[in-house]
Symmetry: C2
Subunit: 293 residues, 2 copies
């Protein structure tokens, strides 16, 4: 992953960054940016979250109030599930100061970027998606080092200025991530296969195991690390995943269809006992997987 980061007109140290949503990703970003910007403020729905954020030193300041929280922001980061990001984009415009940058961390980008188009002209919007995460959610799981070495996709709009893009690239680089500029539709197509499909396969595997367990519960006693790893994503936050699937339907359904063809071709070789062809296919697959690691 490489991205040219143009010269930044403003020092990060001059920036007031406000993060809306202090879950796993928002709180991790807050902690990673804290000390690198003038101030990192967090906005959460619950007092308890603000208290944890403050106790763990993830934010300089926290508030429950969106309006006062974003009033003086240089950069606002929307770090909620995609559905809430879309709602926030409908209401946040008038609350933001002139030239304010709005970037998000949602897992799908097309709908978010088109909603960003509607923001008032004095706002500088930009889509974002860090390619990291855990299957656990919430501020308890926050980890400022989570961005280290990960790709951080940025999906600029036509109206996004070079200055905005370069400043956000600098913020992304400051937390250890590698910025990668992509068109929103292209992003959504890629993550449908590489991220949303794995989640759905994990879910289908868990349902198949539960189905088998209905006939013979001993199956859980013979489950091992293979099942654990392959099904891990099925433990992901449901609201987050639901929003993702509902805002990336077509690409997700395409990925599922292609995957079904692959599964069927494997099943066909098993059924026909075509050992040589199956060996060739499994060997090719293993080589591709080995290259990825």
């Amino acid at each position: 992953v490489s991205a040219q980061i143009p010269a930044v007109s403003r020092d990060l140290k001059e920036l007031d960054v406000v993060i809306v949503g202090l879950g796993l990703m928002g709180a991790s970003l807050a902690g990673a940016l804290r000390g690198r910007c003038r101030a990192v403020r967090g906005i959460a729905r619950r007092q308890e979250t603000l208290q944890i954020a403050s106790e763990r030193g993830l934010v300089d300041e926290g508030t429950l109030h969106l309006e006062s929280g974003v009033r003086d922001a240089d950069v606002v980061v929307l770090a909620t599930p995609v559905g809430v990001i879309l709602s926030l984009l409908d209401e946040i415009g008038p609350l933001l100061p002139e030239g304010c940058i709005v970037v998000d961390m949602g897992s799908t980008k097309s709908q978010i970027v088109s909603r960003m188009e509607r923001l008032p002209g004095h706002i500088q919007p930009l889509g974002g998606h860090p390619m990291c995460g855990k299957e656990v959610s919430g501020i308890e799981a926050a980890e400022p080092s989570i961005f280290n070495g990960c790709t951080f996709v940025l999906t600029p709009l036509k109206r996004t200025s070079d200055d905005t893009l370069s400043l956000v690239c600098a913020l992304v680089a400051a937390v250890g991530a590698n910025p990668l500029e992509l068109d929103a539709q292209r992003h959504d197509r890629l993550v449908a296969t590489i991220s949303h499909l794995p989640y759905l396969l994990a879910c289908a595997l868990v349902r198949t195991a539960a189905h088998a367990a209905g006939e013979d519960a001993t199956i859980w006693d013979v489950a091992s690390s293979g099942f654990r790893d392959t099904s891990r994503l099925a433990a992901s936050d449901v609201t987050m995943m639901l929003d993702i699937l509902m805002t990336n339907q077509d690409a997700v359904l395409d990925a599922l269809e292609i995957c079904e063809l692959q599964t069927r071709s494997l099943a066909g070789l098993i059924r026909s006992v075509d050992k040589d062809a199956l060996r060739n296919m499994l060997t090719r697959i293993r080589a591709i997987r080995a290259e990825y690691d």
Copy 2:
């Protein structure tokens, strides 16, 4: 997992154990048993493997010769891929002393157990399968602690004596595993869903990603831990997996078919934008997965 371990008539310290095949599982078992039995001997095809086994202190002795290697064994453990286990069972009988126990570590059991039926009457055969492993193979990956806390399935034959079963249970317990007695067909049915299906889903995922990469190679830059974990099993040893699939065809194809139905029902809810039903399903799946961990 629980298993009643009957009193053992012989002390493990009196046993000469011979392990045929010093790959990941065989070498790990050798290392775990060494010091707990009178002697642990290893039989390998390559001198290099014997040297590593000896350097790493995994065996008391090693040899390349099956015939002389098993001549005085009390227990012979077949720890090769399933296909080689089947061939070994055809030739090993006449080489073994009176009362010798033959147990294997193959990942499918029905074909192995029926091949064991044909062993000469002076042999005591028993099927075995430790539910642990790694996607890496070979003696380099051996780890005597790998059996700690894992379920070790034992599939006795009608001719298997109680003494044999209890002695092997004691060996299994000695390496930290929990013995679980199962019928061979039942074992194969369970692992088709919980172990072989995850492998095939991982393979289908890698093929789908490779297909998408053919259109846009940037997909590898946005791959993250979700893809890595879900596809991990696709890096498994091909010969081992091929033997498994070819000796558990029917159960594997059944598991694939049920999984396809699960995937389709998820796709159906996504397609129909039935958000409530999808939320319910994903929530149930998440709860099942959470209970497993």
